[in-house]
Amino acid sequence: MYWVSVVTEAGIFAILALGLDVIWGWSGDFDLAFYGYLALGSYLTFVLTIGKPTSPVEYILGYHLPVVLAIVLAMVVVVGLAAIIGAIALRNLRDIYFAVTTLGAVSALYLIVENYTPLFDGYNGVYGLINPGQTALNLTYNGYRIFFLVVVLVLLFLAYLLVQRLSRSPFGRMLRSVREDERAAAAYGRQVFWAKYRAYLFGAALAGLTGGLFAIFISAFNPSAWTPQELLVIYAAILVGGRGNPRGVILGVFVVYIGFIELTRYLPSPASRPDFSPAMRQILIGLMIILMLRFRPEGLFRERPGLDRGAGSSGQQSPGPAVAVAVASVPAPAAQPAPAADEGGPG
């Protein structure tokens, strides 16, 4: 059962990472609000399914909806929030300015959830969603957990197929061309903002779904579950696996989650210092991010180069990954040194 739980968690986070990779890997926007979307999805799944609060616990809504419907509704609301934050942050802001703006937005949200108890019961958070549908499915507790693992893996597979398809679609290629050189893409008539905005909303929808799954998985959610550190693990996993490559991203999540959970189990953990082992884990994640960025920014699995219009044959040797297929046959404006050098290793 231990392994069932480890793999389920990794599977859930792999879906999240696929969503984040669309925003960061394809579109090139370093989003720090992303974990907030998971959090909102999770909170909403709870308050839509666990019924009225009993005093002194308080939270909004308190319905008894079927869990699948609740997750769908949660995803809708999450996309709504992302639509607001994305509209602000993506319009003119890029890079650090984008990252800081999203961090500001999610931090404000965090403080409100933490301090305004009528919303999601503040620091205490919400809980009580235990194996929804277990009786209807006529399963034992452990049987349900295995069933849930299968559900997660099927959803992960579907998400992978969808993302993989999108990745090779004109939309995916357009996003990458925007990432590589926004001005050139705009010059070729691409709607830069709309391309990024749609990618952002798609990523947020996956985060909302993940939030719902996470609610079922841990059956409790409170502010300490969505600190900035949690998001960094996902970024580290994407970096390890290979930014922009869906298969690499999934593998990266499994390597980082299972590798880390297993490794940190064997760390010496003095009884007087219960926080030693989590702290070591964070230190290793920080180190991993820095070392990957410095020595192998393309990750273990390089992003697949573009496939069409004659770019395919030269793809393996080209220094940059999938250099802007939409503008491949045309020289980019010469004045801009290509930012591609950064993702493509020694460019």
């Binding site: 602000i88 003119n92 650090i96 300015y97 404000a108 409100i112 030693f276 920080g286």
Partner: protein
């Protein structure tokens, strides 16, 4: 009315601490063209160094301040040499993510060294003073005076020394400064040491004002620092003091009339609004310039 004036007084004291942190952040940006997400850790390191120094110097405030600044300067040097220079030529966002990794590492190393529980200095806050309409403790006054002193020193340093001239040249164009015979690498190292020292000192002051602190002290102050920096205009040291003043007053006044739990919410909303309408700072007349960092 009295409440309002008292909240302005506290706002000024907050702004003083904020201006120290923000001017260091903006100096780092000016010479290296990167936003240092590990900046908050300089503050934390300074605060903990002063805490450790108490074992030797006991209740000596001046010694604690010097130790904090020295530790911050050392941290600035190490970060610039060990990370920022290693990532030269990479995009700003890559360096930004790397410094984020550093922040996580430092925070957790301090957690292991000192424990996650908060620690406290033994310094008293001194008596309450009525200064004009404001109500300040002795340490509030010391904070405000030291922030003004740092502001004055930075002005003299940047405008009237060869070092300052070199810093200004590098912040305009590092390559051009280099070919003009300015030892850019050395000047940048010195700037990081200076920024680290100011930030370390700010960390000590911040920790002393709050009274109790933990390993997340600096990280939670970072977003506030960035807000103040952006309000002034990133990379513009003098305007940063104005930005700090705006942010300090906004959070204290808004916090007084709602609840102190929400004062940071106002700061972060201010940050989002600034990014939306004035990403180059409130003191820049033209807001038509779009930001592509």
């Amino acid at each position: 009315m009295t409440t309002f004036l008292v909240s302005i007084g506290i706002g000024l004291s907050t702004a003083a601490i904020l201006s120290l942190s923000a001017v260091a952040f903006t100096l780092e940006y000016a010479v290296s063209r990167i936003a240092n997400f590990a900046h908050g850790e300089f503050l934390t390191i300074g605060a903990y160094a002063a805490y450790s120094g108490q074992a030797v110097f006991h209740q000596n405030v001046a010694a604690a301040a010097v130790i904090a600044a020295a530790a911050g300067a050392a941290a600035g040097l190490v970060l610039n040499f060990g990370l920022i220079e290693q990532f030269r030529g990479r995009t700003a966002i890559t360096v930004f993510i790397a410094t984020l990794g550093v922040a996580i590492i430092v925070e957790n190393v301090l957690d292991i060294m000192y424990g996650a529980a908060n620690v406290t200095y033994g310094f008293g806050q001194g008596k309450l003073h009525h200064v004009g309409p404001f109500l300040w403790t002795t340490s509030d006054i010391e904070v405000i005076i030291s922030a003004l002193a740092v502001a004055g020193l930075i002005y003299l340093l940047l405008q009237h020394t060869r070092f300052g001239k070199a810093v200004r040249a590098i912040s305009q164009d590092r390559a051009l400064a280099q070919v003009s015979g300015i030892p850019a690498r050395r000047i940048i190292m010195q700037t990081w040491a200076l920024a680290g020292a100011i930030a370390g000192f700010a960390g000590f002051v911040l920790a002393d004002t709050i009274g109790t602190f933990g390993p997340t002290l600096g990280f939670s102050f970072l977003l506030l620092t960035i807000t103040a920096t952006v309000a002034g205009g990133i990379g513009r040291p003098y305007a940063t003091f104005g930005g700090a003043l705006i942010v300090g007053l906004v959070i204290q006044i808004a916090g007084t009339y709602t609840s102190s739990a929400y004062e940071l919410v106002f700061a972060f909303l201010l940050l989002v609004l600034l990014m939306l309408f004035r990403p180059n700072g409130v003191f820049v007349r033209s807001s038509a310039v779009s930001v592509r960092a």
